[in-house]
Amino acid sequence: MADTGFVQKEKLNDFLNELSKDAVVYAPCLEGDTVIFKAFDSGTTLCLDRPANNPPKLVVFPQSETLFSFKYKKDAEDPRKMSVELEANTDFPRAIIFGARPCDAKGFRIYDSVYIDTNTPDPYYKGRREKTMIATLCCSAPSPGCFCVAVGGGPAHREGSDVLITQLEKGYFIEPVTEKGRAILNVPRIEDGEQYAEEAHKRQLESHDLVRNPFAEDGQPKISRALFDLDEFWEHVVSKCLSCGACTYLCPTCYCFNITDEQALNNGERIRSWDGCMFSHFTLEGSGHNPRPTKFKRFKNRVGHKFLYYPEKYNGVIACCGCGRCIRHCPVSVDISEIVSYLRGPRFEFTNEPPESMGTDTNSQEQKQ
């Protein structure tokens, strides 16, 4: 069997149709002007030109999923009493993510440490993850906001991918990364990729230096704890944040969730849904006490989680994959890479006027007024 494959450009849809026979294929598709990951079928229009607006995390970690269903039953002997039956959801269909970007694939590795490599593995995430093949498209050019190289990634980074796809003039070079990924070479309509390998590997390296690195030449930002713990810093850098939470929903590594019950008559379900640490009710306790009562504290937690707390727990790995979605799609242009670059210190003085280096966009503020 060949070690690599190739799919002609004009045969890509046919190839995806072949893939769809065996699994649900999620691919970046046009929906109006936006590109979103959704189940591919004959009615969808594939778009591989730019990274999707949303990450493919929903395939393994659905926005909303049933953990278990419950059923109340009347006791046959004593009709005043009710018994309960529980049934866990174990329905995890086979899936293929086609056209994830290397940052998206790396995002799953951030999840894995929390959801799988623990003494209480999450059976839902694990179940779906095991049944999902991730075929990643290397980036030929960075999009605005991208900074993957600053957080240990890159436009052809392999971590988290089962298959790496490189776009060439005539089509797509397909290279398995894991054992699971080798299965893709058995799909009909795939040619031997060997003659394209050299060109592809050259292409993979081309865009690396085009990606901006806002932290340091050698990546991996070192955060000044003194600055991080300064309330004024956070008040300053996130005063414009609207707490809309878009950054958390679009983030390939944000994994916070809520658990709620829904019930109709005697049947119901316990449901897990995405939640976000930018919302004030996220930590609000029944008593009214809120340990993170302001958006400054909440934002500090979000940045802290990705750049301090998670690395502290998981061997220095940063829980940000530099995809830039939170920067591109923030309605008020809050820029996490800018904030983290300030956090490297040295500690600067706060005045009423933001220092020039803060890069506050005065034009956009004027426009709003």
């Binding site: 953990l67 278990f68 419950f70 109340y72 009493k81 009710m82 018994s83 309960v84 529980l86 866990a88 929390v114 959801y115 623990t118 209480t120 999450d122 059976p123 839902y124 713990d229 994994y255 916070c256 969730f257 809520n258 658990i259 709620t260 019950d261 829904e262 019930q263 119901g268 316990r270 897990r272 939640d275 640490c277 996220f282 930590t283 609000l284 306790e285 029944g286 008593s287 006490h289 340990p291 937690n301 802290g304 989680h305 301090l308 707390y309 998670y310 502290e312 727990k313």
Partner: protein
């Protein structure tokens, strides 16, 4: 099925007794429906559990009966929100879900031979109760036991039967206080942190364990420091909004530590190390 591998799937349990503690706190004694599971159930003092009312949701409560008394598991519930309001409607025989035990526990081995000072406020006595009863069941292992407990008014004092018993024991010193004067109350008045200053316990060979509302804990910690208690000899048990109970969902973290999994029991030394804002 003896092992529950899905951490989100509760064990089914039955409420066997409901106790009215205060106007807004009730205690629930529950047993797991599967007798084998109930027999094998083991936990440590200070560990918590998630109680489910299916169709409404889950909330976290400490198991406040000690592992030395395994006839049932007891949880005390203050009526404050959606789930707790529905739990307050439960009666004997009603079905609930239990996910337990979760979290860490009081380092009771390290406390052996030491004097123990409990400082509780309101429903904050619940986790302390587990350890108090555990220590009373292993009385010879511990030195003097002092319990300082306060609530807003006398009817708000929890575990009134326990308080009576502890008051009558010669090997326990119980100090009760309520916030302000109250008809028929002839004991101390004043907030718990203030009374702590008044009784000024010696830090000598003593472990202080405190739980109560966040504002009480804050001032108790400050006052213990003024009394020269060392940070590593001050233990508290924290609460936060929790959903998963296994350190994933993201609500209850203090820096990289999760109250549900790495806690709820922490020493003041640890909390300072984690830069907790208390």
């Amino acid at each position: 099925m003896t092992e529950n591998k899905n951490p989100y799937l509760p064990d089914l349990a039955t409420v066997i007794k409901v106790i009215d503690e205060t106007p807004n706190i009730k205690s629930y004694q529950v047993i797991l429906n599967d007798p084998e599971k109930m027999k094998m159930f083991s936990y440590e003092p200070g560990q918590v559990g998630q109680l489910s009312v299916f169709g409404v949701g889950e909330s976290t409560f400490v198991i406040n009966s000690p592992p030395t008394r395994m006839d049932y598991l007891q949880f005390s519930v203050m009526r404050v929100g959606e789930v707790t309001s529905v739990i307050h409607e439960l009666h004997e025989g009603d079905q609930i879900g239990v996910r337990a035990p979760l979290g860490n526990w009081f380092p009771y081995e390290d406390m052996k031979g030491k004097k123990i000072l409990f400082i509780g406020g309101g429903i904050g006595l619940a986790p302390l109760r587990t350890l108090i009863l555990f220590m009373l069941d292993n009385r010879a292992d511990y030195g003097d036991i002092t319990i300082l407990y306060g609530s807003r008014t006398p009817p708000d004092l929890c575990y009134k039967d326990d308080l009576k018993e502890w008051e009558s024991r010669s090997d326990v010193s119980l100090i009760l206080t309520v916030d302000t004067e109250y008809p028929g109350w002839d004991k101390r008045t004043g907030f718990v942190p203030t009374v702590l200053n008044e009784i000024a316990p010696s830090p000598e060979d003593t472990i202080a364990i405190t739980c109560g509302p966040p504002i009480m804990i804050k001032f108790v910690l400050q006052n213990l420091a003024k009394l020269n208690f060392k940070d590593e000899n001050i233990i508290t048990t924290l609460e936060a909004r929790m959903k998963c109970g296994i350190g994933i969902c993201g609500r209850c973290n203090i820096g990289s530590k999760y109250i549900c999994k790495d806690g709820p029991v922490f020493s003041l030394a640890q909390l300072k190390e984690y830069r907790a804002e208390i």
